[in-house]
Amino acid sequence: MGACDEGACDEAAEMSLRAKQVSYRIDDTDLVSGIDLTVGEGQLVAVLGPNGAGKSTLLQLLAGDLKPTRGSVQLDGVDIGQISTQDLALQRAFLSQNPRLDLDFTVQAIVEMGRYPHRAQTDNSPAIDREAVADALTRVEITHLADRVVGSLSGGERQRVSLARIIAQRTPLLLMDEPTTFTDVAHQELIMIEARRIAAERGSVVAIIHDLNLAAAYADRILLLSKGQTVACGQPAEVLTSETLTDTYQLSMQVVEHPFRDGPLVLTVPQEITTETR
């Protein structure tokens, strides 16, 4: 159950992203240690875990932002550290947790920035750029905001602008650090549906998600982290069990069969108030 690599977790026939025994150590502390993960084409992998579990660090390692102290990250068989900044931008897009968007640029201009890596590509053209931007705006339902100044938008709207920019980048690999932050319930579903569609159309998606049920509903596989290490990895039903979750989150949780679809439904069980606190 441990590694998200071989056996049940290695369903990918065509491998696109592979992390092998990847670790990141800073000041004698292992933020991430010995994680295996293979993400194949068409897959959406959700990374779960409590705060400080090393999720964001892992995502930065997968993005090539951080250099692993041990182990390796490969994109289509090539060590990610060997790929130039320019080429990497054509292969992976990254949705940050708190994108800096208190800017005076219009939404349209921000999404157009997603086309920057393609500017020197011979197979690119202004028509393709326009089409990609229009398509990205439509997908996250912000076409009506195109001429608005991005700094004037709400948090949830800005989050969708960032997502549109990443979509317009049109990379085979998409890494997302909490894509549903600041967004309302309806748009959380929209974002996850879009993430699924991108995985199906273009490649693979790795997303850090806090909402366990959102992950259960949309992820092909879930990687559960705690204290920098893999707790469990596999299909949602395998990973999301009452014991594992209760143990990992230190909060009593019950997993039941989802009443309306196949798969697990996670419920938190309210703690009984103890006599001391009363």
Binding site: F94, P99, R100, D102, L103, F105, A109, Y116
Partner: protein, 338 residues
Amino acid sequence: MSRNRLILIGLAFLLIVVGVGSLLVGAASLGPSQILRVGLDRLGFTTDVEPQADSVLVGIRLPRTLATAFVGYGLGVVGASLQGVFRNPLADSHLLGISPAAGLGALVGYALTPSGATSWQTPVIIVICSALSGTAFSLYLGRLTSDAGRLSLIGAALSFGATAWLGAIVLVWDNSRVPTLLFWIFGGLTGATWRSLYVVAPVIVLAVFAQQRTARTLDILALGEVEARHLGVPVEAARRRVLGAAGVAIGAAVAMAGVVGFIGLVAPNLVRRALGPAHQDLLIGSGLVGAVLLLVADSAARTVANPTEIPVGLLTGMIGAPIMAWILIRPGFHGRVR
């Protein structure tokens, strides 16, 4: 036509008007009709031009007006690109110390020029030394830190130091040259001749062109370094490119006009609200406004205390300081480029 394009055309028109206006200003009084007659005469139509009017206009005022426009344009563009690359609306070649460093270089070049140098060699040597010094300094600055706030303070400290050295060297070197060399410190366009213009203008044009080519990258940098890297911008290399071009442009501008402050600071902040944050238009607009401001300042420098000429750097300071204060005080100021 887009709104921005109309604004830019308007600014270009304003630049022409101010430029022609600056030809009318000076110690000898020349009216518009005399300018027109000299122009027609030079174009081949024979008119009754006094030879003195021709020599004042074509020999003295025209190169000065052109030099002022080139220097002002360069200062404006560099201000905008520095503010973009450091994501700080207070970034400026003077405040960051690039201009004083270039001034030191120019002074060294002046000292190095052999006494038998031809009138062509002198400006070339000065421009090379000034540009090298300005570029080396701005690249060094870019390596120190990417934190815009800290950088402004470091730059301010270094700027103060460089200005002090500039003053001290001039005083100690040769006391009798103080009046003529004061202009390295306070700025001035008295030395603008056709010859120096031929040397300086191409350098400024090339550096400005290099800056313009980085416009889209500067836009991406507004998202922050991490995001820029995710979009394929090699941030350090991009910063070096912008700072290198800035150093060259400032070097050439300082060699021509000495240290002129505030133009690079004020011009981008004046046009950013009208043109928006995208650098393609912002750089051009800042250049045009920079040229207009410096032409106005230089015209004033020549007239307000006639026959004494006030160093133009002092005038831009007198005008620029309150504008800067206004930028800082007004409610829309956010402490960073948005």
